[in-house]
């Protein structure tokens, strides 16, 4: 792969390796900052959900992608963050305080959940995290004095330093949070801790022989991942403005896993790609449902055929209720078989293709390893 020639040690510490990266991220930053001006509330809302999902994606990529630990209980961490926010807002605690508190609390819970991870691997760890998620869901439904039980809690948009945030303000808040977490995660993964995570993922035995303490780093990974998810939970609760235990179920945890599978488990960028995909599929399908039949009918009638019949047929297909599940299933199978590194991996290949054209060869990536196998290197 393309590496710029290094002439200076400080180059290794830079966030952006090439001038191209600086410009493209600057353009992205300008675009995101201007989004409220460019978009209406509907699109802005989608972007906010993308941001929240991306934060969870980052958390899960740190845990699964970089440390090699499975979790199908991340909805529970999200729930703990969300309920901390809801409870604290009711008590009149300021946003900044309970935002940090939610992260800390979820981090502690994540540490505790990480303890069984020391003894469990692969599918057994998955079952343990799954059980944990059930326990949390049960507690949320039972502990009525705090969680209001199955009736759920309503929240208002947060006050930030006495300023009442509207939709736009909340968007900027989310943007600030995701940027900070992303930068934090990038830095974490090139710190000794991050290196230790990767070492543990690749081979626990080898890592141990190099002096990496598996117990310390696995629990740390769980704690960090949970804390980040907890922060996302706070934003999620405020965005939805109503939370109840039935929202934080297994299917939400699975949605999160889908983010990293589709986005790409081996790259933080994958979290963003995966989140964009997960959130945007529905609105795109909704738009298709409205516009596609008419469009097809126009094309067909230009060709001199029966436009009305085609319109009806297309309308029937795009309105079929199970369509989305079908598309999702196919996409996941497709990614697992053909592109284990997800959209982020595909993006790398496209970039390389363009750069090396016409000398690109598919075998460049032939020997890529897949770290989705949790039993690896034991």
């Amino acid at each position: 792969m393309h590496q710029p020639v290094k002439t200076d040690y400080s180059q290794d510490l830079r966030l952006f390796r090439t001038a191209g990266q600086v410009w493209s991220y600057a353009a992205l930053a300008v675009f995101l900052l201007a989004a409220p001006i460019l978009f209406g509330n509907y699109l802005l809302s989608q972007v906010v959900f993308v941001i929240i999902y991306a934060i969870v994606g980052i958390a899960l990529i740190i845990l699964s992608g970089y440390t090699g630990q499975v979790s199908i209980g991340h909805a529970a961490f999200l729930a703990i963050g969300a309920y901390t926010a809801a409870y604290c807002q009711k008590q009149g605690i300021p946003f900044v305080v309970y935002f940090v508190l939610a992260g800390a609390l979820t981090g502690v819970v994540g540490y505790l959940v990480g303890l069984p991870a020391l003894r469990l691997h692969g599918v057994y760890l998955a079952i343990a995290t799954f059980a944990f998620a059930f326990i949390v869901e049960e507690i949320l439904a039972r502990w009525e004095s705090v969680t209001n039980g199955n009736e759920g809690i309503m929240l208002a948009l947060p006050d930030l330093f006495g300023l009442k945030l509207g939709d736009t303000g909340f968007y900027y808040l989310c943007l600030a949070v995701v940027t900070t977490i992303m930068l934090g995660a990038i830095n974490l993964l090139r710190s000794p801790t991050g290196r230790a995570f990767v070492a543990l993922r690749d081979s626990e035995t080898a890592a141990k022989s190099m002096g990496v303490n598996p117990a310390r780093y696995k629990t740390r990974s769980f704690a960090i991942s949970a804390a980040i998810t907890g922060l996302a939970g706070v934003l999620y609760a405020h965005k939805l403005s109503f939370i109840s235990p039935e929202m934080f179920t297994l299917s939400l945890s699975i949605e999160f896993i889908m983010i990293v599978i589709i986005g790409g488990i081996a790259s933080l960028r994958g979290a963003v790609f995966g989140a964009i995909f997960m959130i945007m599929v529905d609105p795109v399908l909704a738009t298709l449902k409205d516009d596609l039949p008419g469009l097809v009918a126009n094309v067909v009638s230009v060709l001199g055929l029966n436009g009305g019949g085609a319109q009806e047929a297309v309308a029937r297909v795009v309105n079929a209720p199970g369509l989305k599940s079908l598309i999702f299933g196919l996409i996941i199978i497709f990614f697992i078989i053909f592109e284990p590194f997800g959209l982020a991996g595909r993006w790398e290949k496209i970039k390389l293709y363009v750069r090396l054209f016409p000398l690109y060869k598919a075998t460049t990536f032939k020997r890529q390893k897949m770290y989705l196998k949790s039993e690896r290197g034991r």
């Binding site: 300008v30 900052l33 509907y42 039980g149 759920g152 303000g169 900027y172 939805l240 959130i279 909704a286």
Partner: protein, 397 residues
């Protein structure tokens, strides 16, 4: 570059700081059209509710349009799928409000899926009408919040139906020691609250309260406990399948108390599944269960129209959607040619009664009460069918 960021951030903060002014807004009404939006669960866990309700809405829209519309305006109904996911419901709601410019949200489905987008609808200043859930949030008004005036509902809450059932059975059938077996969730909580309040109001001793988990199949311990405590009327805070389980278990134990069930059990499946064990059970409901064979007049026309359009028999879920739009049409007609959110609000709060074609209790609202209905009917399973025994019942004497 940095100055530019700063400028944008400052501009953003300035937008962000705008107070959420409660203003009613009118959109989606032209001289020829009224655009209405709804989100239903068409693909998720409660699509058995969402699909027929959406069909009911469509049928009502067709009928209204065929009859010339509302003051000359046709209804354009836009249905979105929420999949019973609050996140999707939020996005669907924003799409309906912004892209489609709906005049009002009509009969959206589910509790969580309605509550999450509700503030968005209120902030947009448009009406949130008749969600298919009986949650208190959907009609209770906070006097400090003018936007709460935009919320209306027409479904009897679980709480009310349970109180009505207990009240009626104790007053009219001479039961003395009611107890309750309930599902341990939000719905069950409504039932236990109603049970406690009604027992207190009737000045009788509270009896056994036994719970079971959603999806339970064995009710031996709960029934045995109720029997041992001398209960003579079991309130069923359960849904169809569990209700059948409970009455069957009681039969097996050779125990024959009275049973009174609420709306989730007042469905045709209960006598069908319960067979002879279901006989004699009392149920409370809002709308009489459709009986295709016995239907006459407008109800028969409704059934025929539905069958012609969708190819299946209508059920009570269809009526939930159908009545929602029909109630809207009634009040929109009252509001007259100048249809705005304000004029519709005034028409709805005028206290005029809407009576549906199914013989349900009349619907009316006032400035202080946005839950359109306070009464329900009591029925009993006879000859394998629910048969109405008392109409327009309330629990306040």
């Amino acid at each position: 570059m940095q100055m530019k960021y700063l400028a944008i951030v400052v501009a953003g903060a300035a937008c962000a700081a705008q107070p959420a002014a409660a203003q009613f807004k009118t959109q989606g009404v032209t001289d020829t059209e009224i655009v209405l939006g709804t989100h239903q669960d068409l693909s998720g866990p409660i699509k058995a509710w969402g699909v027929p309700a959406a069909n009911g809405l469509k049928l009502a829209a067709d009928e209204i349009n065929a009859a010339g519309g509302i003051n000359g305006r046709k209804i354009k109904l836009i249905v979105e799928d929420s999949g019973y996911d609050p996140k999707k419901a939020v996005l669907a709601t924003q799409k309906l409000i912004e892209r489609d410019g709906i005049f009002a949200m009509i009969s959206p489905m589910g509790s969580a899926t309605t509550l999450a987008p509700l503030p968005i609808v209120q902030r947009a200043g448009i009406l949130h009408l008749f969600p298919i859930t009986a949650a208190e949030f959907t009609y209770k008004m906070d006097p400090g919040k003018p936007e709460d005036r935009l919320k209306f509902n027409i479904f009897v809450p679980y709480y009310d139906t349970m109180r009505i059932g207990l009240h009626w059975a104790v007053k009219n059938k001479g039961f003395k020691a009611p107890c309750i077996i309930y599902q341990d969730d939000e719905m069950g909580k409504n039932f236990t609250d109603a049970y406690k309040d009604e027992v207190e109001a009737l000045k009788i001793k509270a009896g056994t309260m036994a719970s079971f988990k959603r999806g339970a199949t064995d009710f031996g311990s709960q029934v045995a406990k109720a029997k041992a405590d001398g209960c003579d009327l079991v309130a069923l805070g359960s849904v169809v399948r569990e209700s059948v389980g409970i009455v069957t278990t009681a039969k097996k134990l050779g125990w024959e108390p009275g049973f009174v069930a609420s709306t989730p059990t007042y469905v045709p499946d209960f006598p069908e599944l319960g067979k002879e064990n279901a006989a004699g059970v009392y149920g409370v409901g809002q709308v009489e269960i459709i009986d295709s064979a016995a239907a006459t007049g407008k109800v028969k026309a409704f059934i025929d129209a539905y069958k012609a359009k969708f190819g299946v028999e209508p059920n009570n879920q269809v009526i939930a959607g159908y009545n929602g739009l029909m109630t809207f049409a009634f009040y929109a007609n009252l509001a007259g040619k100048n249809l705005t959110t304000e004029s519709l609000l005034d028409a709805m709060e005028s206290g005029k009664e809407f009576v549906d074609i199914f013989g349900s209790p009349p619907i009316k609202f006032s400035k202080t009460d946005h839950l359109g209905v306070a009464e329900a009917l009591v029925a009993q399973v006879k000859d394998g069918k629910w048969q109405t025994v008392a109409k327009n019942q309330g629990y306040k004497d």
